[in-house]
């Protein structure tokens, strides 16, 4: 399993770089945010984490058209993910209304 892991890394070196950069980037992007924005930022990030929905969509596309268990579970997944996405962005937008008055 160790060798499997090492060869996985070897094949996916660029992924390693991209991941490390993404982690640093996440840190840097957030590290100097004023306190009032914490809540909308949390909510916006939450909406982004709804990207799992892509997985659910892919699954439905791959399912046999008569495999109703997978299809139904998939639709539930897409629905939940979409609630997260749409609700998340909408809530964030509402929260940010209050900054509208600024300046």
């Amino acid at each position: 399993m160790i060798t499997e892991f090492l060869s996985f890394i070897q094949e996916n070196l660029l992924m390693l770089y991209a991941l490390a950069f993404a982690i640093f980037l996440g840190f840097e992007l957030i590290s100097k945010v004023p306190t009032v924005l914490h809540t909308p930022l949390m909510s916006g990030a939450n909406a982004i984490s709804g990207v799992v929905i892509i997985g659910a969509i892919t699954l439905i596309r791959l399912s046999e058209p008569d495999d109703y268990l997978v299809l139904v579970l998939g639709v539930v997944g897409v629905t939940l993910g979409m609630i997260n996405v749409i609700g998340g962005f909408a809530v964030t937008d509402r929260m940010l209304q209050m900054f509208n008055k600024k300046k």
């Binding site: 930022l41 909510s43 969509i57 699954l59 299809l71 579970l73 939940l80 609700g87 909408a90």
Partner: protein
């Protein structure tokens, strides 16, 4: 050409990054949200148009889900009260976690009998487990914030030890399953169950007031599951978007704790904030706080030249923002210069006071942040503290034994006179007594904030004082 779709995903990720970047500055935050949302639209578009080997279409099913989710999500987001936003975010986050759980379940259902390569399996198991934790944990956080769950319910005996055992069990099962897949289906269910339990018992001991921090942490978990799912599907957008959310969620969590002058560990241990520990008043103060009658207080306010309002959690509890604004109007019409001092962690979530005051259209120019307020305070005649406590506690400055020592506070004791509106002498979130209340220039007005403000306003309006 697949490249086009991959570039769509790539642009989607750029949208997320630019979105997060913009969300961090008040002036650009709204645009940032749009950038992130645009990235998501691109990503979803790409996900059902990109060529996919073995695709059977099933677009009707997909659209059903998309439309259902859009309607429900949008209605929930627009209907809810501003102050109930945190629990809604928590709920949304839970649903995202549930989506990840479903994905991993289906994936195992579809591929389980063929045997799954070990690295893929580990990703699947982690998605399932972390997703479950995010799901049940978020629900508990939601229930607590929504007042449906008291702080002591659902807490297991010896919570820290209990949780450690559950955690070890989860990890153990994942390791076992990655060596031996023969019992994959039943053990998968067990893993899911244990993870769900862990989510509950992890969040339950933490005080309700600390839920925003917990939600941010769980949000970072959901991001992680998205990234793991991205590994499974070899989808870079999920991978990168998930990791971005994961890491920014963690740092946001830490920042939130810092703003309250606490460490993340301290919050997660439920060390304070949970109601049971809230009476550790440092060595009982035997001095007497002075009360002021409502008529006297209203005269004081009406005839001062500058008043600074310091709202706190009590304003939110009493839902006194409307009457507060009415009082503001009345005083302003009398020529009193009135401003609001917003402490960064007043209330129970970042921006809590801003939300409340924005609801009743207090103009942005009247709001002062911590530094501005502290600069102005020495020249203020009367400070009106409405249901705030910790954020005006001078122990943070003076008493190095106090748990809030070092937290920047509003130095209201430097103003001419201080009026404090609260119901009793009981402490606030940090559970410590406030020496401010015993100062010579401090006067208490006991009672519910909404009621007290109403009385003050009535006094002024009756015209006894013209």
């Amino acid at each position: 050409m697949v490249t086009i779709y991959n570039l769509m995903y790539f642009t989607g990720v750029l949208g997320f990054i630019v979105g997060l970047q913009r969300l961090g500055h008040p002036a650009t935050a709204k645009k940032g949200n749009l950038f992130a949302a645009g990235g998501m639209v691109l990503a979803i578009l790409a996900s059902f148009t990109t060529p996919l080997e073995g695709s059977h279409g099933n677009y009707l099913w997909i659209f059903t889900g998309l439309i259902l989710g859009t309607i429900i999500g949008y209605r929930a987001a627009t209907k809810v009260q501003m102050t109930e936003m945190p629990q809604l975010v928590s709920l949304f986050n839970g649903l995202g976690g549930a989506c990840a759980v479903l994905i991993s379940l289906i994936e195992v259902l579809m591929k389980g009998n063929e045997g799954i390569p070990v690295l893929g399996l580990i990703s699947l198991l982690l998605t399932l487990s972390i997703g479950s934790v995010a799901f049940s944990g978020s629900l508990v956080a939601w229930a607590k914030l929504d007042g449906r769950l008291r702080d002591k319910t659902l807490v297991p005996p010896y919570p820290h030890i209990f949780n450690l055992i559950v955690l070890v069990a989860c990890v153990g099962m994942i390791i076992f399953l990655s060596f031996d897949q023969s019992l994959l289906f039943p053990l998968l269910m067990v893993l899911m169950l244990i993870s769900l339990v862990y989510g509950i018992t992890f969040v339950a001991p933490i005080g309700g007031a600390d839920m925003p921090v917990v939600i941010s942490l769980l949000n970072s978990f959901t991001g992680l599951t998205a990234a793991l799912a991205g590994l499974i599907y070899d989808n870079q957008l999920m991978l990168m978007g998930g990791i971005l959310v994961g890491s920014s969620g963690i740092i946001l969590t830490v920042l939130m704790c810092k703003a309250m002058n606490r460490s993340l560990g301290n919050v997660l241990m439920g060390a304070f904030g949970s109601s049971n520990s809230s009476t550790t008043s440092a060595g009982e103060d035997h001095r007497q706080a002075k009360e002021l009658s409502k008529p006297d207080a209203s005269i004081l306010l009406a005839y001062s030249s500058s008043v600074m309002v310091v709202p706190g959690y009590g304003l939110a509890v009493a839902q006194a923002q409307r009457v507060c604004k009415d009082l503001d109007n009345e005083l302003s019409s009398r020529g009193v210069h009135l401003s609001y001092a917003i402490h960064p962690v007043a209330g129970r979530m970042p921006g809590h006071m801003n939300v409340l005051l924005a609801e009743v259209d207090v103009p942005y120019e009247k709001l002062m942040d911590l530094d501005q307020a502290n600069e102005a305070l020495p020249n203020v005649d009367v400070v009106l503290v409405i249901g705030a406590n910790d954020v005006v506690n001078p122990s943070a400055r003076e008493d190095s034994n106090s748990p809030i020592y070092g937290m920047p506070i509003l130095n209201v004791d430097q103003a001419g006179k201080v009026l404090v509106l609260k119901r009793s002498m009981s402490p606030g979130y940090a559970g410590v007594q406030n020496p401010l209340f015993f100062n010579d220039n401090t006067f208490m007005l006991f009672g519910d904030a909404k009621a007290s403000l109403g009385e003050l306003l009535a006094e002024m309006k009756t015209g006894v004082l013209v």
